[in-house]
């Protein structure tokens, strides 16, 4: 049942709305600071970035110059026709040739700029992703506890993606837009200050309109985003609980709720899209207003001989392209905001407090004997909520320690501390007499081998998954480990044997088989200390007997920590730690603890409560 896994359930950030970047709502906390920091990532590519900017400016400049030159040809034609003389085609040819060269250069520069920027942007993003991944390996588990996987994933993919497209497009677009605006105004001024004034009059109106529309649509986009989030949440919940919904015939209620939220989404959605869709026609209209004004007024001027027709043509052209950079800048400004917000989230990850660095003078451990002791250990996941106040445990070389207790008693905490996933608040934990904080984490963890309750396997072959325990293991060793874990048999019955590719959810083998693979992995790692975290709870009891035998063999001469619910599996432990509500309430041997008649005794006796009352005592028969 892949869908019922609690972990790894996808979480969705609602997709960002709308064309034209108007749906981008997020605002960065500190635009300037983030911008500066993001710009820092371009520093290694400074030379190329400068070239990109220069090319962008040149390409735009040439693009702006060309209508004016085109106008020269028109003027020549018009004036010749008006004057009744022959058109000077040599002159026109020359003009068109210059124009062709200008077009070509403009295109080349534009191409070069985007070509180089592709490399710069993608390389920058590559570095960013890499840096995040490196950072993630250095973050303490506390960080992961407090966040969903979806949240972290979205920072590495969605947020980095936003930055990527922003670098690729928006940055140069911004430059182009500004240069275009400036260039067009200069060109227009050069042609006719009077007509320029007419066209520029449109400017404040354009700005105001853009602002008003953006503001209105923003409010609907917020609504859209909220409803979309709610809808996605409902879908996620209903589909994850598909089986339950079916079992209790709740399809109708679920669909009703869905429709209700979907309706709300529709209502806010179409309004948002409508209002943001207005901006283009509005700008177009303003353009046309300018166009008409220039045509009429310019025509009047040309007729009076105060202006050349080619100039009017150029003027018309410029006025048409005048509002474009303004709308562009408005949308880029929004994109930039979103980009900075994304960058901020990424930097937030990069700024997280890392695990304490390894001790540089760490003693080297070749061979561990596997003696573990906790001395006065104090620990809590939260500072004000201590789990262990003063914990003392002494485990000798080769001993088996059983950790028992009801669900949620905090049994895995012990493991977390042993492997130094968390650092203790006070006291010390030693392995072979060495404080584990003195050791390199890598060396420490080399000593341990563990099989966790949720079987983690990755998307690869069965062989690779077993060899994860020791990367340099030979084929023979992998098979041996599988045999020892009683996994060899089922692997060989698979059509591809050891080469079988586990799919994404590893749903092509059963839960018990997965467990066997993780056991094989631990066996191959051949650690000095074993940690079995309810390792066999979803393997059937008969297989479990086999595994126990393999384990017993493996546990020979090794210190082992076994966490299990089944009392039968821990009876022959050398030391039993009884946990309840996060605390170790009792410790000792099975007999000793029974004699004590405390929590353990009650726990143990309750196992047979139902048996005794019904009189069907299995023990009388065996």
């Amino acid at each position: 049942m892949s869908g019922e896994k609690r972990e790894g359930r996808p979480r969705f950030r609602p997709p960002r709305g709308g064309p034209g970047g108007l749906g981008l709502l997020e605002k960065p906390q500190d635009f300037k600071g983030t911008f500066r920091r993001l710009a820092g990532y371009l520093r290694p590519h400074l030379g190329r970035t400068v070239i990109v900017f220069v090319l962008a400016i040149m390409s735009t400049a040439f693009g702006i110059l060309s209508p004016r030159i085109l106008g020269l040809a028109t003027t020549e034609m018009f004036e010749s026709v008006q004057a009744g003389r022959a058109i000077d085609f040599a002159y026109i040819g020359k003009v068109l040739l210059i124009l062709g060269v200008l077009y070509l250069l403009s295109a080349l520069f534009s191409f070069g700029q985007q070509f180089i920027m592709a490399g710069v942007a993608q390389k920058t993003v590559y570095d960013l992703r890499r840096e995040i991944k490196h950072k993630l390996t250095r973050l303490p588990l506390r960080y992961y506890d407090a966040r969903t996987h979806g949240e972290i994933l979205s920072r590495v993919t969605n947020d980095v993606d936003t930055i990527s497209s922003s670098l690729q497009q928006s940055l140069t677009q911004l430059i182009t837009a500004i240069v275009t605006l400036a260039g067009v105004i200069i060109m227009m001024l050069a042609i006719s200050p009077l007509l320029t004034l007419v066209v520029v009059l449109v400017l404040p109106v354009a700005f105001a309109l853009t602002r008003i529309i953006t503001k209105r649509s923003r409010q609907y986009f917020v609504g859209q985003q909220k409803n979309l989030g709610e809808l996605n949440g409902h879908i996620e919940e209903m589909l994850t609980g598909h089986k339950i919904i079916k079992a209790f015939s709740r399809e109708k209620q679920s669909l009703e709720k869905f429709k209700e939220v979907n309706d709300r989404l529709y209502n806010s959605g179409w309004k948002a899209q409508f209002i943001s869709g207005i901006i283009m026609p509005m700008m177009n209209f303003l353009n046309n207003l300018g166009f008409v004004a220039v045509c009429a007024l310019g025509g009047f001027l040309v007729a009076r001989g105060a202006m050349a027709l080619g100039d009017l043509q150029a003027m018309i052209h410029y006025s048409r392209h005048f509002t474009q950079p303004i709308t562009q800048t408005a949308s880029i400004a929004n994109i930039m905001q979103a980009t900075m917000a994304a960058a901020e989230r990424v930097f937030e990850v990069l700024d997280e407090v890392e695990e304490a660095p390894d001790n540089p003078d760490a003693p080297e451990i070749r061979e561990s004997r596997g003696a573990v002791s906790f001395q006065g250990v104090q620990f809590g996941y939260k500072k004000d909520d201590l789990l262990y106040e003063n914990l003392d445990i002494n485990v000798h070389e080769g001993q088996t320690v059983a950790i028992v207790g009801p669900t949620g008693a905090g049994k895995t905490t012990l493991v977390n501390l042993l492997l130094r996933f968390y650092d203790i608040d006070a006291g010390r934990i030693t392995v072979d007499g060495l404080d584990i904080r003195e050791l390199k984490r890598e060396d420490l963890r080399q000593i341990f081998g563990m099989v966790l309750q949720d079987t983690w396997l990755f998307n690869g072959t069965i062989r690779d998954n077993i060899a994860y325990g020791r990367l340099d293991a030979s084929e023979e060793e992998v098979v041996q480990a599988a045999v020892a874990a009683r996994a060899d048999h089922f692997i060989r019955t698979l059509p591809e044997g050891y080469n079988t590719l586990l799919n994404e959810e590893a749903s092509n083998i059963s839960q018990g088989e997965k467990q066997l693979l993780t056991i094989a992995r631990a066996i191959l790692a051949d650690p000095a200390i074993l940690i079995l975290d309810e390792a066999t709870s979803s393997v059937d009891t008969r297989t479990e007997v086999l595994i126990q035998k393999a384990m017993a063999q493996l546990m020979q001469g090794r210190t082992s920590f076994v966490i299990a619910h089944r009392l039968s599996t821990i009876r022959n432990a050398d030391l039993i730690l009884v946990m309840n509500e996060g605390q170790i309430v009792e410790q000792g041997t099975h007999e000793g603890l029974l004699a004590k008649n405390g929590f353990y005794a009650e726990l143990y006796n309750s196992q047979f409560a139902g048996v005794n009352s019904s009189g069907a005592n299995p023990l009388a028969i065996g």
Binding site: F115, Y126, K259, L452, V545, L619
Partner: protein, 576 residues
């Protein structure tokens, strides 16, 4: 794409309206250059100011019509686009809800969620963009050509040459870029996969010191993605300036040849200027088409994913002819020679299972991993259909009942106790919508949940987070049991539902359940022998077949498999 278009049906009138509006908008837009030409040729050339301002006024009016059309088009297209999204979403969601577990598992929950959310949003966006931009393109092109020909048919022959060139450029671009976009998406997915694995397996990775190894795996995926991304972006870098250049060169050609026509007296200068503008509009519409190529591959992938869902017919449907159970028969369960296999499996998981259970009886199913215990339980509420044989409830084949009436008889407690966001009470009431507080309290009490519920400050109104993540496994399991109890069903199914409970709670719970379920049939799937020992009937499954049926005592005598299970769990030390 075509398949999904049919859901546009209710919107056809609006779509037509949008197209008409867009047409009007385009026409008025196209009319402007003609008016401009008139200003030049009739106004300026003749030096007639009155004409200039009169035509100027007309232009203003035309511009107003244009903007009015555009705004209304935006309004209606927004309603169509989003409305379509709403219809499609409803359609897909309700379709998925009808999926049996077979289809559900075929896709996986995560994938289904993405399809209903992100994929539909993608398609909705494309519809909207198509109405706004793609619809304009052909209208603009045709209109532009008509207007250009009307200005000067001779010069229009240039269009015949230029258009195919540009169209070819667009086609080549699409041919090159589309597969790359697809590949990029796949590589992004791969990167996500590696990262997701890294997050779920963080403890294992650290315990095995495999950080370096995982970094390498991530880096390989990252580099692979980056390379493709650079390639795609560089190709795109060539496309835009390339097309602009083509357009600009075309305008040079028009000026050159047009100039000669002007010299020959066949064309007025104003018309040449208008012609140039029409040419630009034609080219521009082609470029708009090319922009769709960026959106289309992603949208197509989405469309395919949605279609895959819609094309999957739920295997289980209500029968045309519903059969009712004879009145008075309540709580009878029977398996008759049931054979069942999962899709694609070579061997059946359940082989020839037969047994009967009557009200008041407890039937336990025990067996190893993969022996088919849970599958057996899943057949009763008809999560799957049997290959052959039949499952009968109250003497009626489950395939002859409606799914609702069948499931109303059943209180199902799944292996994974999944809860929903809401309160403790709302979660229990999922079993029976109109349950009184008294009933809810009683169910919680029987399920041994009272203790922890009372310990919460809000009691039964304590909030439950999605999936119940704010409760412990044992607490979730007890609430799932209460949820089934509150229905007071004819048949209880406990699918390994006590595994997260400690022994003490387990024993107390079973004691309480015994009274509660006295007149119902109870089916318990379990791993622990202690859980099943006092059942009226124990079914021992081994590799999908019945290895023995009987009471504990009978099986201890007769069934080797059962004896092994018992011995492995409880008695080692007592025997010794």
């Amino acid at each position: 794409m075509i398949k999904l278009i049919r859901y546009l049906k209710p919107f056809w009138p609006t779509v037509v309206l949008v197209l008409v509006l867009v047409l009007l908008q385009t026409l008025s837009q196209l009319y402007l250059p003609t008016l401009m030409a008139d200003i030049v040729d009739k106004g300026i050339a003749a030096g007639n100011n009155a004409v200039i301002f009169r035509i100027g006024g007309t232009m203003l009016a035309v511009a107003l019509v244009s903007v009015a059309c555009a705004v209304s088009a935006s309004y209606f297209s927004a309603r169509v686009g989003l409305g379509y999204g709403r219809v499609l979403r409803n359609k897909v969601f309700s379709h998925v809800q009808q999926f049996s577990l077979r289809e559900y598992n075929q896709f996986g929950a995560a994938s289904l969620i993405t399809r209903i959310t992100n994929d539909i949003t993608q398609v909705q966006m494309v519809i909207l963009m198509s109405l706004r931009m793609l619809a304009i393109a052909p209208l603009m092109m045709i209109g532009g050509i008509v207007m250009a020909v009307s200005r000067d048919p001779n010069l229009s022959r240039l269009i015949l040459i230029l258009m195919p060139v540009l169209a070819l450029a667009v086609a080549v671009m699409a041919y090159l870029v589309m597969p790359l976009f697809k590949a990029m998406q796949a590589k992004l997915d791969k990167l996500n996969l590696v990262l997701r694995e890294n997050l779920t397996g963080i403890r294992v990775i650290r315990a095995f010191n495999r950080d370096e190894y995982e970094l390498k795996r991530f880096d390989a995926a990252n580099l692979d993605l980056t390379k493709t991304a650079i390639l795609v972006n560089r190709l795109m870098a060539g496309s835009m300036p390339g097309m602009m250049l083509l357009m600009n060169l075309a305008s040079i050609a028009i000026l050159w040849f047009g100039g000669q026509r002007v010299a020959g007296g066949g064309l007025q200068v104003g018309n040449l200027m208008a012609f140039l503008q029409y040419m630009m509009q034609i080219m521009f519409s082609l470029m708009m088409v090319s922009m769709m190529f960026v959106m289309l591959p992603r949208a197509m992938a989405s469309v395919n994913r949605i279609n895959a869902v819609l094309d999957t017919e739920p295997e289980i449907a209500n029968p045309a002819q519903v059969r009712e159970a004879a009145s008075g028969t309540k709580g009878y369960l029977e398996f008759r020679n049931v054979i069942f296999s999962y899709p694609g499996a070579e061997v059946p998981v359940l082989r020839d299972i037969s047994f009967r259970a009557s009200p008041g009886e407890t039937t336990a199913v025990i067996g190893g991993t993969g022996s088919g215990k849970s599958t057996l339980a899943n057949l009763i509420p008809r999560f799957y259909d049997v290959d052959s044989g039949s499952v009968l409830v109250d003497g009626v084949d489950v395939r002859d009942m409606t799914q609702e009436s069948l499931r109303d008889k059943i209180g199902f407690v799944p292996q994974q106790a999944l809860l929903f966001s809401g309160t403790i009470a709302s979660n229990i009431r999922l079993g029976k919508e109109d349950a009184t507080s008294e009933e809810v309290r009683k169910a919680a009490e029987t399920a041994q949940a009272r203790e922890f519920i009372d310990a919460m400050p809000e009691g039964f109104d304590a909030p439950v987070a999605q999936g119940g993540v704010n409760l412990s496994g044992g607490q979730r399991q007890r609430l799932a049991i209460a949820r089934a109890l509150v229905r007071r069903p004819e048949i209880y199914i406990f699918d390994d539902s006590f595994s997260a409970l400690d022994f003490r709670t387990d024993a107390r719970l079973r004691q309480a359940l015994k009274e509660e379920t006295a007149d119902a049939t109870t089916l318990i799937v379990a791993q622990r022998v202690t859980t099943v020992m006092d059942a009226d009937r124990i079914i021992v499954l081994e590799k999908g077949a019945v290895a023995g049926i009987g009471t504990h005592h009978e099986l201890m005598e007769s069934c080797k498999v059962y004896r092994e299970i018992v011995l492995s769990q409880v008695s080692e030390e007592e025997i010794a």
